[in-house]
Amino acid sequence: MTPNQTDRIATQLINFLVLIVVLILLFLLGDIIFSGFPHVSWHFLTSPSSSFSAGGGIRDQLFNSLYLLVLTLLISFPLALGSAIYLSEYAGNNWRTGLIRTAIEVLSSLPSVVVGLFGYLLFVISFHIGFSILSGAIALTFFNLPLLVRSIEGSLHAVPDSQREAGIALGLSNWRTIRGIILPAALPGILTGIILSAGRVFGEAAALIYTAGQSAPILNYADWNPTDGSSFLNPMRPAETLAVHIWKVNTEGVTPDAVSVSAGASAVLIIVILIFNFGARAIGNHLYKKMTGGK
């Protein structure tokens, strides 16, 4: 066999493997979207769920998922950002830094039910936060941190050192250089990290059952006071997310239309993630173009 033949065969093999992956992807997405889409309607999206009769919707669960995402990012993003800055800009290359990194990474492979129970015993019970979006957000922070820290640190590293030198040589403080020069330059990469971690938040169920809970009290969308019990903005209320709802109707749901609710909810979840992905990507590209003045 000549090298050129090998080359052709190898390329074809790669294309073939990629094709299989694409087919699996299309099958998965197709399966979820096509089996779910017929059940998605305006009514489905805008009515509260029902625990025993058919015709329940997912309004509150959908909102809870989004709200939980926002809260989780509010908690985990600053922490991850600060830590990533520490790791990439301040930490020395020694065993202590290695230990810190390992410790953070270990978090990402803990089974979610363990983190859920930990969150339950510590935050829900000991700290009296109760079953709440806040507890859920703190629990999800555990999964989010390693992902976010790694991706933010990676994007900070990807910014050339010459940018740091440029800032420092102008008499700027390290902090100002990081904030004003390095961070904006790393923004597109950071956004990708956020997208990935957002996917994890949308998809997580086991950790939330014990922290954010699996009940969806009726929400009042006209009540903008976050301290009211029924206000949709109250972070201290229990909140069932879409993924938890899918889990619930599939495992213990007694509604006659459990199958279609689950299929519809999965489709909505996928579509929301899709919108989120492309939205964040578009914003990232826009920012990048603006900064580099792409022609």
Partner: protein, 266 residues
């Protein structure tokens, strides 16, 4: 390359007013016991261009970067750097103020991923200048001084990364002089540029000596002889010779200098 006697040196002290001087400056990288830069004692005259020449690895860039404490994070620097009667190598000295007075331009153009005017105003704002008029004045003057104004005056809000390499480097110079430093350190500023841009840059530097003291590291001996008044020759982490540029290039005292400027090594 021959083994030269590194202890045989010829270093003068220029008669002009001295802007910056070093005494017994030593630089150690990492945990190395062996200094990368040994006992450099040089004085730089005000409003002149001084060139630092030498082969790769001779320590000239290391020395230059030590002057405004850019090596703080990666190396240990012993000895004295005297500026305005203060030893600015002391850990007590405010290193940010040092760098405001001693600016630096690097080998590769490194503008920020911001607009042209923001590139200049960013550090000014950080230094507490908020008046818009003042800011736009500074942008204009510094760009004019760096001979870039005519090329970019209509596109100040365009990204700096859309400029050509030579323009980017002149923007970096403008960015540095907008801080109104005393001294400008340039680390092979023309090495990434084409001949036309290089000529423009050299003209610009000559102009700048009216207001600034310039110390430039260069690989290019013609460049050194074209623009500098004084030249220091670095070899293997030692300064072997320092004198007027003409002297260095025509009648050097030290054999190594002679061999280097005549192209025997380097």
């Amino acid at each position: 390359m021959e083994a030269y006697d590194l202890n045989q040196t010829h270093i003068i002290i220029p008669p002009e007013e001295i802007a910056l001087s070093t005494k017994q400056l030593q630089v150690y990288y990492g945990h190395n016991q062996q200094p990368s830069m040994t006992n450099a004692s040089l004085s730089f005259p005000r409003f002149q261009i001084t060139a630092l020449i030498g082969a790769s690895g001779s320590g000239k860039s290391t020395y230059l970067r030590a002057l405004n404490r850019m090596n703080d994070r990666i190396a240990r620097v012993d000895g004295e750097i005297r500026y305005r009667g203060t030893n600015i190598n002391s850990p007590k000295v405010n290193v940010y103020e040092v760098r405001k007075h001693i600016g630096m331009v690097f080998q590769k153009p490194n503008p920020f991923a911001k607009s042209i005017s923001e590139n200049i105003t960013f550090a000014l704002k950080a230094a507490g200048i908020t008046n818009r008029q003042e800011l736009s004045n500074r942008v204009e003057t510094s760009l004019k001084e760096a001979a870039l104004w005519d090329e970019v005056k209509d596109s100040l809000n365009k990204s700096a990364l859309s400029l050509s390499g030579g323009q980017q480097q002149r923007l970096c110079i403008a960015r540095a002089i907008a801080m109104k430093p005393d001294i400008l350190l340039l680390d092979e500023p023309a090495s990434a540029l084409d001949p036309i841009s290089t000529t423009k840059l050299e003209v610009t530097l000559k102009e700048l000596t009216k207001k600034y003291t310039i110390i430039i590291v260069t690989h290019n001996m013609e460049q050194a002889s074209r623009i500098s008044t004084y030249t220091a020759f670095f070899h293997l982490g030692h300064v072997l010779e320092y004198d007027q540029t003409e002297k260095i290039f025509q009648t050097p005292e030290i054999q190594a200098t002679h061999d280097y400027v005549t192209g025997n090594f380097g």
